[in-house]
């Protein structure tokens, strides 16, 4: 018996040792990959120097390349079938071989991006959204290519962003001027406005609301006075994408220094955390009250889809995209096909307590980025190729197809889709319009689907969002904001939990002080101390950059 036990222990030990040896082997092999990555980074630097020295001549002619270059690209939305017509067109044109690495949707997407970046086969072009901490680690590990040199030589992307908003590239660049992340999609200054069912207003003899109180009264009437005249109480005032605070924007903008996620800054330059401010207490309280009264669709507290509920004719007010004003907007087409007599119209933002009606301002920085990674064999050619794809006419062709074949213009010069980028035919015929969506999108005349009215709507929304924009903080490098990196996960989890619970009615707004105390115990006070310091430094840095790029 004892003998057996001893053998058992010896075997277990042998096993351990052999396994440790195996791990050791792994360790050394990984160490070697580590060193290759650092040489790759050095290589990147040398090519960059080369790029600068040859900035005048030596531009790669991407249309006349004899060697076929494999290109793997991570994509989330947009067209995600392989070997589409557009893909083949690009492959032929630039003599490349494209393979799409499709990310598994929004809920598991960031996991997959993390996994891809930690693997041996990183796509040549990586796309991601809001992963600032990870981004810094990638840069430190030498996984991304600095493209600032290439941007001087191939200027389609740079010119576009400098034309739209000079701050965009400031936010994308590092302190030393290098650029590892290329802005993937930057929204219009504001791209949303308040939408209302005009036919319901008419049915109930109501006027379009201009103040928050009037809006709430309209919502009451829409809920209780049977606006669709079917004799059933099956309508709601406000609807919106579920589990998305933006659905409540009219109440958020009604108060100063209120927000659901971002840091706010007052006129004296003092930085505060929006979700912990008095203004937020007020808007959440308002919304919770309306929700409890049943003026808001019950689904809004769950991760549900607005478009479907809208097609059912379930609600009469929503805060949504200006682009809905375009005749080809899919949710609207869907809505009108089931509700032919109805009418949604965009109206001006209603006036709240602070007296400054504001639309939701978008950030100057991109919400999604892409980068050329160290796995690219010829980063310069890859950048040059991609940059060429971003020129105005090439972008229009890739996004909307060819005039006469995929779209045409009517007598008012308005874009009419023959095969729309969102249509079923695009999938079933494997055309591939909208390929690489979110990896560079033009919001200028390149977005040909905007009608003049929609463009005007965008402009108005943009103008009416500057007051709000001036009071919101935009960080350049959230990951260097150390206390935030450390505590943000806990703080944001608690923030989301509490605010949604109040709206859903499972917690009381009376617990507000408790909530703020909890945030502080999770580190918010430290965060704010650092935030105020960082903000001052950031302003100085930005002014310097903007002066240099004038």
């Amino acid at each position: 018996m004892n003998m057996k036990k001893i053998i058992c222990i010896v075997m277990a030990l042998a096993l351990c040792i052999s396994l440790f040896a195996a791990c050791g082997g792994n360790g050394s092999s990984t160490a070697s990959t580590g060193s290759t990555s650092s040489t790759a980074a050095e290589g990147g630097e040398t090519t960059e120097e080369g790029g600068e020295s040859s900035a005048e001549g030596d531009v790669i002619d991407v249309l006349n390349q004899t060697e076929k270059m494999p290109v793997s690209i991570a994509v989330m939305t947009g067209f995600t079938q392989s070997d589409s017509e557009m893909e083949k067109m690009l492959e032929e044109k630039y003599n490349i071989d494209i393979s799409l690495v499709v990310l598994p949707g929004w809920s598991d997407g960031q996991s997959q991006i993390s996994l891809l970046m930690a693997s041996d086969d990183i796509p040549n072009i990586m796309w991601w959204w809001s992963m600032d901490t990870e981004y810094n680690k990638w840069v430190q590990a030498g996984l991304l290519q600095d493209v600032s040199g290439y941007m001087q030589k191939y200027t389609n992307i740079r010119d576009y962003y400098d034309k739209m908003d000079k701050k965009t590239l400031f936010y994308a660049s590092e302190a030393d001027g290098s650029i590892y992340r290329i802005p993937g999609d930057v929204a219009e200054p504001s791209c949303e406005c308040l939408w209302i069912r005009q036919d319901w207003l008419d049915n109930l003899n109501l006027k379009a609301p201009t103040t928050i109180e009037e809006l709430e009264e309209v919502m009451r009437a829409f809920t209780e006075d049977d606006p669709d005249g079917n004799g059933q109480k099956d309508t709601y005032g406000l609807g919106g994408d579920g589990y998305d605070f933006r659905s409540f924007w009219p109440w958020i903008q009604a108060y100063d220094l209120a927000h659901y996620a971002r840091f706010c800054v007052d006129d004296d330059g003092v930085v505060t955390y929006g979700p912990a401010n008095e203004g937020t207490k007020k808007w959440v309280g308002d919304v919770a009250e309306l929700y409890a009264k049943g003026y808001i669709t019950p689904n809004i507290t769950q991760d549900t889809n607005r478009d479907e509920e809208m097609a059912n004719g379930g609600f009469g007010v929503t805060y949504s995209w200006c682009a809905w004003n375009n005749p080809d907007a899919a949710p609207m087409l869907s809505f009108y096909s089931t509700n032919p007599d109805a009418k949604w119209v965009p109206i001006d933002m209603v006036k709240g307590e602070n007296g400054v009606p504001q639309e939701d301002p978008a950030t100057s920085a991109a919400w999604a980025y892409f980068a050329i990674t160290k796995s690219a064999q010829d980063p310069e050619r890859l950048f040059a190729t991609y940059d060429d794809m971003c020129s105005l006419e090439n972008y229009v062709e890739r996004r909307f197809g060819r005039e006469g074949e995929h779209y045409e213009y009517d007598e008012n010069d308005t874009y009419v889709a023959i095969v729309g980028p969102d249509s079923e035919e695009n999938t079933s015929q494997n055309i591939g319009l909208k390929i690489f969506d979110n990896l560079f999108n033009r919001k200028d005349e390149g977005n040909i689907s905007n009608t003049p009215e929609t463009t005007a709507l965008f402009n108005k929304s943009g103008e009416n969002s500057r007051y709000a924009a001036a009071h919101l903080v935009e960080w350049k490098d959230p990951a260097s904001f150390e206390t935030w990196t450390e505590y943000s996960a806990d703080i944001e989890t608690e923030k989301d939990r509490y605010l949604w619970s109040v709206i859903a009615g499972t917690e009381s707004i009376d617990g507000w002080d408790n909530y703020v105390a909890t945030l502080n115990s999770l580190g918010l006070e430290e965060v704010l101390a650092e935030a105020n310091e960082d903000y001052a430094a950031l302003q100085a840095e930005m002014e310097e950059y903007l002066a240099a790029h004038e």
């Binding site: 791990c23 589990y243 507290t301 619970s501 859903a504």
Partner: protein
């Protein structure tokens, strides 16, 4: 039994060992792939847990450093983790307390059925949910609990008069987890007890009938004692699950609205580890969980043996 082939006694231990190994070479050959599998896919990951003692950088492994117990210290200092640990225990203990007796009762009730066709049919239906994935179950649950069209929502409204949104209500989410877990597992749970019940000697019941013992008495004095060993073993195996609150189920159903009550160690490990690429920290969390499970099963097994029951080894 090994003695059956034991040759002359003058052979010493080592020679006997060699001879036995040669004799059973084909058995070792059969065993080889399975053990290799266990080594590679079960033991290497167990030793892979060493990264919990490192600051592991997945993007640049050369940048990884040894940090001793730092990750564990960080873990215990994090209020979020303690919350998650509490949730795990709370959900799994509730699941066990509510879910454990049900299969026993069902098996005993079914055992009294004389109509074999009915019994077979109901067994077939009761086992079914066990074979359905949590992905599909989640789809069914979401459909039943849909705030506007869900059938269960309508039933709840009928009884409470309120529009209850179970999936986002933190007071209702955990009960929902418990009930759906029981729903999925209770039928399958009975099968083990059927196995035990079929082993009871029918003569015992005949003897009891002759003695005039009623059904109730028979249950107490014959049936229950004969399935007690099985109950104890199932209890021990269940204790191993005290830190497994059901990853698949929760992962498919939860949202930030109910993180407060539904976030468990496994979902936390996934979010911090895979999503945020903090491999070391989340491995520490996972390892802590495994160690608790191991300790639990050792304690319960020892207690079971001390109290005169059979353990699992």
């Amino acid at each position: 039994m090994a003695a059956a082939v034991k040759p002359a006694s003058e052979l010493n231990a080592w020679e006997r060992f060699k001879k036995d190994v040669v004799r059973d070479k084909w058995l070792y050959l059969l065993l080889l792939p399975g053990m290799a599998f266990m080594l590679i896919f079960r033991y290497i990951p167990i030793f892979g847990n060493v990264i919990a003692f490192m600051e592991y950088n997945p993007y640049d492994m050369a940048g990884s450093t040894w940090v001793g117990f730092d990750q564990f210290i960080k873990l215990f200092q994090k209020p979020a983790f303690m919350k998650v640990f509490g949730n795990t225990l709370y959900i799994s203990i509730l699941k066990m307390v509510c879910g454990f007796p049900i299969p026993i009762i069902l098996a005993l009730m079914m055992n009294e059925m004389r109509n074999m066709k009915f019994k077979k049919a109901s067994q077939t239906l009761l086992y079914l949910p066990h074979f359905i994935s949590w992905v599909v179950m989640a789809g069914l649950i979401m459909s039943m609990l849909d705030p506007t069209t869900g059938l269960v929502t309508a039933i709840l409204k009928f009884f409470t008069g309120k529009d209850l949104q179970v999936l986002t209500d933190k007071n209702l989410f955990v009960p929902m987890l418990i009930i759906t877990d029981i729903y999925k597992g209770m039928g399958w749970g009975t099968i083990i007890y059927f196995a035990a019940l079929s082993g009871v000697d029918p003569q015992l019941y005949e003897a009891a009938e002759i003695d005039g013992a009623r059904k109730w008495k028979q249950l107490l004095h014959i049936t229950l004692p004969s399935i007690t060993p099985t109950i104890v073993i199932m209890l021990i195996l269940n204790c191993n699950n005290i830190v497994n609150a059901g990853f698949d189920q929760i992962f498919m159903l939860y949202s930030a609205l109910v993180y407060d009550v539904a976030d468990i160690i496994d979902t936390y490990v996934y979010r911090i580890g895979i999503q945020k690429a903090d491999y070391s920290f989340s491995t520490a969390a996972g390892m802590f969980k495994s160690v608790i499970a191991l300790v639990m099963i050792l304690i319960v097994n020892t207690v079971a043996k001390k109290t005169g029951n059979e353990g699992i080894w």
